[in-house]
Amino acid sequence: MTASAEQPLLAIDAVGKRFGGVIALDDVSFSVGAHSVVGLIGPNGSGKTTLLNVINGVFAADHGEVRLSGIRIDRKRSCELAATGLTRTFQAARVFRTLAVRQNLFIPLLHQSALDRTAASARANELLELVGLTKHAESIASEISGGQQRLLEFARALVSRPRLVLMDEPFAGVHPQIKTLLVRCIRDSVAREGTSFIIVSHEVPDLVAMSDFMVCLVEGRTAATGSPATVIQNERVIEGYLGRA
């Protein structure tokens, strides 16, 4: 388990979810401590996205519990969770298409009534700079490239200084150089702001390098949990996911 002895930030306990005949999640349990990055891996269709969806209230779990700081959240609406500091990115980028890039970053701030405008603008600019979108700040979001839209989502998830961020393949389609910036940014957030992350990614080496803890799902079940090094050595993970090189 994660190092912290006290209550974990997020506790997932025996969560199950099925779609008709498809068992997408079967008894998944693990927890995420404060200031930590959890890497979530697993073959296609193993339930990673579904798990994120359950955590942030897009789907209701069939059974099991999800707790954020000890409070049950698995029946809460996503917008309420966002207000308590839980944000996410999507596997297929979903930006607000006719809004300018900068305006996209303001949307997550709408529910923060104590908004300091200059601070918000500064934060937005800082993130735009990070993901290399500064010169596109006033462009309409639908008019930037697919990869740039994913970067915009990345920025949008972090702009409200959340406690916990769920990221669904943030590095997919992102240029290697920017990817290293993103990784650094995630590390910075953990270190400086105490943000925690659950990151789904198929780019295992990067994930191994940045995660404190790793979970591998296979067919909706937790195949392995533990430190990244042990997880990627796990026989079942290699068998079902990584393949033998």
Binding site: S145, G146, Q177, I178, H202, V204
Partner: protein, 245 residues
Amino acid sequence: MNAVSSAPILKIANVVAGYTAGHPVLRGVNLIAQPGHITGVLGPNGAGKSTLLRAIAGFLQPSSGRIVLGDEDIAALPPHRHMERRIALLPQGRSTFPELTVAENIELGGWTMRGDRARLRQAVEAMFARYPHLRALRDRPAGSLSGGQQRAVEIARLVIGDPKVLLIDEPSVGLSPIVAAQVYRELEALKAEGRTILLVDQDVRAAIKIADYAYVLSSGRNDIEGDRSAFEGDLGVMVRRWLGV
């Protein structure tokens, strides 16, 4: 420069294209694809790679320049006429028909065979034989699949049309390592069948590994280009150069 001397199958000369009049995204791109080769198109986010593929596939009308397939200029051809010439696009992002089943999705990939239903049915079965992991998903609506599963369906839908020239935009995004490796093997297999592939990929390492020749775009212009050895030799330097750091 180009080592192979046979006549190029696809030739892009001085293409200028964009989404709004007066704001070109591609500002004079030149590119040659040799038959039976994999030609990589690389570059940072927003460089215009997808735009280039979309222009070749007919979704964008170049305002000047030529796109020559064999010996026909196809620049002004509407997108649906490309399949008749056996040139096909796998677009970036999701592009399944979400409410049709996987089998129906794949079947429609063979639209050009619609005159011969028996042959089409056989071809669909052949696809399930070729991608056995899709067989279990056969009758599921494509929209309910996981991200990676959808990508796999798209690839099958592309291949069933039996194209000679494949324009592939980020094939491995969202695929787990095993499947991604399969996809790259598949691309090589397609090449071995004598098909020509234009491959856009952010996974530079993987792309370089299978590409015979690669172009780098930046800001809608040709930057550097070279064959595999040129890139493998000094990848780090190259990457840094494209970014203009």
